[in-house]
């Protein structure tokens, strides 16, 4: 039982990561793939933040009468990662819009088929 409680966070991280991984490899829609990547990314955030938690600690803002703080370092890393994450997601989404412009579809299968036709024509 104690292992369950002391490692529950890490297991949830892995489950979330694997759900994201599944979406990326098994679903052909490119928007869905990006949502899957976002889930994957958030699971890494949760891993870092969980590793920084000290039981009985408090938020890392200095205050009188408090001696035990959680680790501020993972917070910094993840805070900036979130904002970089949204910027790269936006880049991914604009790539998807351009793919839609070129191939008329955002499904992996359709794009592959269209690409195959194009190669045959050029041969």
């Amino acid at each position: 039982m104690s292992v369950l409680f002391s490692h529950y966070n890490y297991w949830v991280v892995i489950v979330l990561m694997m759900i994201g991984f599944y979406i990326v490899i098994a679903q052909g829609n490119l928007v869905k793939k990006l949502i899957g990547l976002n889930i994957f990314q958030t699971s890494v955030f949760i891993l870092y933040i969980s590793a920084g938690k000290v039981s009985g600690g408090t938020a890392p803002i200095l205050a009188d009468g408090i001696t035990l703080y959680s680790n501020p370092l993972p917070h910094v890393l993840i805070l900036t990662a979130i904002v970089v994450g949204i910027a790269t997601t936006a880049l991914g989404l604009s790539l998807i819009i351009r793919i839609r412009d070129t191939y008329g579809s955002v499904e992996e299968q359709d794009v592959r088929a269209a690409e195959g036709n194009r190669k045959q024509e050029s041969c």
Partner: protein
């Protein structure tokens, strides 16, 4: 109690993620991903990561789903095909997951104060930042001063991403006189939405400024403030149209501002170098090192805030412009 909260929030996250994986309606998946962002923000609060929660609530639950909605409006709402290679994929995922779970048994227990993560650099940050940097929020101290180099890199990446988005989506900014099509205007004629949003825009901006300048003392800082400020403008744009927003905000100015924030950050580093210290060593900025740290942090946080706000607005305008272009064609 804390453990109960932790376990229930994480279980809800897993349930939401499964919902996203199963749903073939992308609109529902994006709605769920917004809920997912809000849940993880709540989880970060229980983990004492208040600054992170702040960012995740504004980005994960707000801006990210918004951009996805804009994309869905262009590319279509439903997935066309069922899952491909579902069984092998499931097998691979379960196998990888099982191996990773086996590996977690070596990780120190959750919340252990003697875990390696808590015993190396963290004590230095916790014990010394109060006297070395002189501001209460350790996250801001580490972000802006100890790891200022790293943050500079992140701001540059955010800037590079917007350059990419603008290159891909082109200058699809609507020419003057181009009106929003009626289908997009239906929601903006909603009286309650219009009045409530009009009331909200000003307080949101004021709050963004508070978050920006109070980041040294409480949760907040340039990243959060930038996103919140952009959210105010985005709400306005959503309800009153791109044309109305363009009257207030010049896109060329925004592009310059996005670059200006990065430049401001970098020039603080150069000033420190000219004063004979290392790049981004704020001790060199004033006679008293602690004052120097204060000046440095305020200026670079301002640079971060300006860049992030400008980038978020530019990205939203680029997507909204595409949406209008498209509905004009069809």
């Amino acid at each position: 109690m804390e453990l109960l909260l932790d376990i229930s929030l994480l279980s809800m996250l897993v349930a939401t993620a499964i919902g996203i994986a199963v749903s073939r309606d992308l609109l529902a998946a994006v709605m769920l991903s917004s809920i997912y962002g809000l849940l993880s923000a709540n989880f970060f609060v229980t983990m004492d990561a208040v600054d992170v929660a702040f960012t995740e609530a504004s980005v994960g639950a707000g801006i990210s789903p918004l951009l996805m909605f804009a994309t869905l409006a262009i590319v279509g709402r439903f997935e066309r095909y069922p899952h491909q290679r579902a069984l092998p994929a499931l097998l691979l995922v379960v196998l990888t997951g099982a191996m990773l779970i086996l590996a977690t048994l070596d990780i120190p227990a959750f919340g252990d104060p003697n875990a390696p993560a808590q015993t190396h650099v963290a004590p230095r940050f916790i014990n010394e930042s109060g006297t070395e940097i002189g501001i209460p929020n350790m996250v801001t101290s580490v972000l802006a001063s100890y790891r200022g180099f790293d943050t500079f890199g992140e701001v540059t990446v955010v800037f590079a991403a917007v350059v990419g988005v603008l290159a891909l989506l082109g200058s699809s900014l609507p020419a003057a006189g181009r009106k929003l099509p009626d289908t997009l205007l239906q929601a903006s004629n909603h009286r309650i939405l219009r009045i409530v949003s009009k009331i909200l825009v000003a307080p949101i901006m004021l709050f963004a400024l508070y978050v920006q300048f109070h980041g040294d003392y409480g949760p907040g800082g340039g990243f959060q403030a930038g996103v919140i400020f952009a959210a105010a403008i985005i709400i306005y744009t959503m309800l009153f149209g791109l044309e109305a927003a363009m009257k207030v905000i010049n896109v060329t100015v925004l592009r310059v501002l996005a670059a200006f924030g990065v430049l401001l950050y970098g020039s603080v580093g150069l000033v420190a170098m000219l004063n004979g210290k290392n790049f981004l060593d704020y001790d060199a900025l004033a006679a008293d090192p602690v004052h120097g740290q204060h000046y440095g942090i305020i200026v670079i946080e301002l640079g971060v805030g300006i860049t992030v706000a400008a980038v978020m607005m530019l990205i939203y305008f680029a997507f909204a412009g595409r949406l209008i272009d498209r509905s004009h064609k069809s």
